[in-house]
């Protein structure tokens, strides 16, 4: 797009084309847009809209207007909303700072008449071609720059980038807030774009939060920040690999801090995101799901998860580990279970920690029934994967199991057996309450 006035850089060897009259150049510009849109079926209301916006725009703002129009129209084309958006009532792009002139059909015909009149002596075919061609190149350059450019510097709300946003509709907003940090507040009304951070800002926020988590380890703060990030992503309907990254990071942080509630929320979302085909650590989180089912002992869920798994998924290291844990538990092979526990990949260890004591009681039951007459505490601690013998002593003391007070403390297995059984009863009771059938 060009205007004879605003052409500082381009050194055209030809004589600069004179702007005959404002209206003519308006129509030419709009025609040029029409020609380069690649879609000749523009509704008249759209052509009208373009014309009106140029008419309402001062020459200094014209470049910005072109950019905005390009964006609006190309996103409408991509979403096939060309005909469904009501261009007559759609507000003009923000670059229009003059009074919008009323659309009069009379004006149009005079303008088109004007085009025909002047085409003979001024716009030879060749020159018209060159102009259109030039506009095309500029438009392409414009589009290329737009892709790479960060959107956060523009204060004007823009239609969302359709690569990142699915289910774009009239209610989806694009945020304009540039503050990196924001506490979480539950939404009670429609979101305000000035409070919502756009994608580029959120990327920076994630980096900041990762650093802060490592440095400060303040979970309340981090959790609130992550939740507000998730809120911003949801409100802008951004579903891409960045969304996956945010949920994954929050899930890991929640696991580390033992917040199963938030972990579960993230896991649910991640399941859907992976199902959409978005890249991420799907196998890692599949392993976490299996370990979680082992915690709840929900056989129906385990069965369903196994039924839905592909053979290729079962070969993945994390998933294989989780399945081996399941098999060891089913076989009552506590030794293998604890060996696997000590070698859990990623953050699965935190999940197993949730039910490790239950498994320790079950294993102790078996050991008490089978071994005679005594077992040293050192052996018990090793078998039950206690890193420190003192932890083992504490564990046994909590179950009221007597430990001999000599230099190598040991436990009388026969006497300890009823205590171990009693301990398991507690776990059975708790689990029945918590289980979901």
């Amino acid at each position: 797009m060009y205007t004879a006035v605003d052409m500082p850089k381009k050194q055209s060897p030809k004589a600069p084309l004179i702007q005959k009259n404002k209206k003519m150049s308006v129509l030419k510009s709009s025609l040029s847009i029409a020609n380069t849109s690649g879609d000749s079926t523009w509704p008249n209301s759209l052509k009208d809209y373009v014309e009106r916006s140029f008419a309402a725009c001062s020459t200094s703002a014209r470049k910005r207007l072109e950019k905005q129009l390009n964006q609006i129209i190309s996103s409408a084309v991509k979403n096939k909303k060309l005909n469904s958006i009501n261009w007559t009532i759609r507000p003009l792009p923000k670059a229009c700072d003059l009074e919008p002139q009323p659309v009069l059909s009379v004006k149009r015909t005079s303008v088109s008449a004007g085009i025909i009149d002047t085409s003979d002596n001024f716009d030879s075919e060749e020159r018209k071609e060159r102009r259109l061609h030039r506009f095309q190149k500029e438009a392409e350059a414009e589009a290329a720059r737009k892709e790479a450019e960060s959107s956060s510097t523009m204060p004007i709300p823009q239609p969302p980038n359709t690569a990142d946003v699915h289910n774009w509709d009239a209610d989806t907003i694009v945020g304009t807030c540039t503050r990196l940090e924001k506490s979480y507040f539950r939404l009670t009304s429609a979101p305000d774009p000035s409070q919502v951070r756009p994608l580029s800002v959120l990327r920076n926020t994630l980096e900041l939060l990762k650093r802060k988590w490592v440095e400060d380890n303040n979970y309340t703060y981090i959790c609130s920040q992550f939740k507000s990030m998730r809120q911003d992503l949801t409100v802008q309907r951004i579903t891409n690999s960045f969304t996956v990254e945010v949920y994954e990071t929050h899930a890991r942080v929640a696991l580390e801090t033992n917040d199963l509630g938030e972990y579960n929320q993230c896991q649910t979302q991640l399941k859907q995101l992976y199902a959409m085909g978005l890249p991420g650590h799907a196998m890692e989180f599949l392993a976490y799901r299996i370990l979680y089912f082992l915690y709840t002992r929900n056989k129906g869920d385990i069965n369903a998860a196994m039924a839905a798994m592909l053979p290729s998924e079962k070969q993945e290291q994390a998933v294989q580990h989780a399945l081996s844990v399941r098999a060891a538990m089913a076989a009552g092979n506590y030794h293998r279970f604890f060996m696997l526990y000590l070698a859990t990949p990623n953050m699965g260890g935190y999940l197993i920690d949730k039910f490790i004591d239950r498994e320790r009681c079950a294993s102790l039951q078996r050991m008490c029934k089978a071994f005679r007459p005594r077992l040293s505490v050192a052996v018990i601690a090793k078998d039950l994967a206690f890193t420190k013998v003192d932890d083992c002593i504490k564990f046994l003391a909590e179950l009221n199991i007597a430990i001999s007070q000599d230099e190598s403390p040991s436990v009388d297995m026969k006497l300890a057996y009823p205590h171990a059984v009693a301990a398991m009863q507690i776990y059975e009771k708790v689990d029945i309450k918590g289980q979901i059938y």
Binding site: N303, A307, G332, R336, R366, F371
Partner: protein, 405 residues
């Protein structure tokens, strides 16, 4: 509008059958595919050229309504517009339910027929809808209607037991089970069983045998799903033994659940049974052989091979239980081969396992496996960690598998 003569005759017939409480014949004629219905529809078609006249039939009273909607449904069925047929059948069913409240035991066959037809039409309607890529869901609606019929049976207040509608309860329950299982709504199944247990019904044994067998199959299958293997075994055995002799498919279904339970008790399926039921043979035949022989390596191989099959049929957990039988058999073999010495070192057992093809078990793991065996009761004896040996009972080191819970 005088209405169709033939149709009026049919309506009259329904009403008479109702008055004389002839449940059997009424059930027969009210079937969508009954000869009577065919004849009536044919006559109407011959007279009027189409079935539109059915829409305009005046109705006085519920039986008229039931009759007319029934014929409309049948007509739509013949025209293969199943969604239409479904709607009519549903309204016929609901109309029947309205008067069913005041009916007694004689009308149960009618209820059964209507329910069966309703399910059939709903399924066909769903199929039609899904192939034309719209939403199914008719079967779910039908399920709700049938649930109503079921509760009307169960909550009957009739003091005279021989006239009570309660006799239809288990039949309706079985229809509902089939529907719920199809929708994978197992929690609804469980709640229905609880409701049945809590209600004041005559004992199950007094109901018709076919109702008993079907009900016990479902109850056993649900217990199986919840890992309550003892009660599952009881119900499934009963169902198998009393099942109608020629119901091959039903018996196969019972066996799919029953076989792993029995295998875990050490009862391998008999060769005659395997011959008669090839699907069972394909699923469990080799596994049973491997478990019996103590061939743990082969057992694990087969388990991995057929894992997907077991997971899909919901029998994977049950089959895993059989693995312990395989381990027990292997231990017993080693015991016998080494001269029935009641003191067996862990090292020797590891060597025995290695000879059998399982090379990745070390002594700590062997201790754990043995501890589990002792705990579950497969071995009688104790382990000495310090001496590194297992000391088995002299009397009965390997108790019979049947005695283990």
């Amino acid at each position: 509008m005088a209405g169709c003569q033939r149709l009026a005759q049919a309506q009259h017939k329904f009403k008479t059958l109702n008055t004389v409480n002839n449940g059997a014949e009424l059930a027969q004629v009210i079937q969508l595919s009954s000869l009577y219905t065919d004849r009536v529809l044919e006559d109407i078609h011959k007279e009027y050229g189409s079935w539109d006249v059915l829409e305009m039939q005046p109705t006085r009273g519920v039986w008229d309504e039931i009759a007319v909607t029934h014929f409309q449904a049948a007509a739509a069925y013949r025209l293969r517009s199943f969604v239409d047929a479904y709607t009519r059948q549903l309204s016929s069913f609901n109309a029947f339910l309205r008067i069913f409240r005041n009916m007694t035991q004689w009308s149960l066959p009618v209820l059964y027929t209507l329910s069966r037809d309703l399910c059939d039409v709903a399924q066909r309607a769903d199929h039609q809808l899904t192939t034309s890529s719209s939403q199914g869901g008719k079967l779910e609606e039908a399920t709700r209607a049938i649930n109503q019929g079921f509760s009307l049976c169960m909550t009957d207040r009739e003091p005279l037991l021989s006239k009570s509608r309660k006799w239809g309860t288990f039949r309706m329950a079985n229809i509902l089970f089939a529907l719920y299982v199809r929708h994978k709504a197992y929690n609804l199944c469980d709640s229905m069983i609880r409701a049945l247990k809590a209600s004041e019904l005559p004992p199950l044994e007094q109901f018709p045998m076919s109702d008993q067998v079907t009900f016990r199959y479902y109850r056993g299958m649900l217990a199986f799903r919840n890992e309550k293997y003892t009660s599952a075994k009881e119900d499934l055995l009963f169902a198998l033994e009393h099942c109608f002799r020629d119901s091959y498919n039903n018996k196969t279904r019972i066996l799919v659940c029953l076989t792993p339970i029995l295998m875990a008790e050490g009862r391998a399926p008999h060769s005659r049974l395997l011959r008669r039921y090839p699907p069972i043979k394909a699923m469990y035949g080799e596994l049973a052989k491997a478990a019996k022989a103590g061939n743990l390596r082969r057992f694990d191989e087969l388990l991995q091979e057929k894992e997907q099959l077991f997971v899909n049929t919901g029998t994977f957990m049950a089959v895993e239980r059989v693995r312990k039988v395989a381990i027990r058999q292997l231990l017993r073999k080693i015991y016998v081969l080494t001269g029935q010495n009641s003191r067996m070192s862990f090292q020797m057992l590891c060597d025995g396992f290695a000879a059998a093809g399982i090379t990745d078990i070390d002594i700590p793991e062997m201790e754990s496996v043995l501890a589990d065996m002792v705990f579950c009761g497969y071995i009688k004896g104790y382990l000495s960690h310090d001496h590194g040996i297992a000391v088995l009972s002299k009397l009965q080191p390997f108790p019979p598998l049947v005695s283990i819970a």
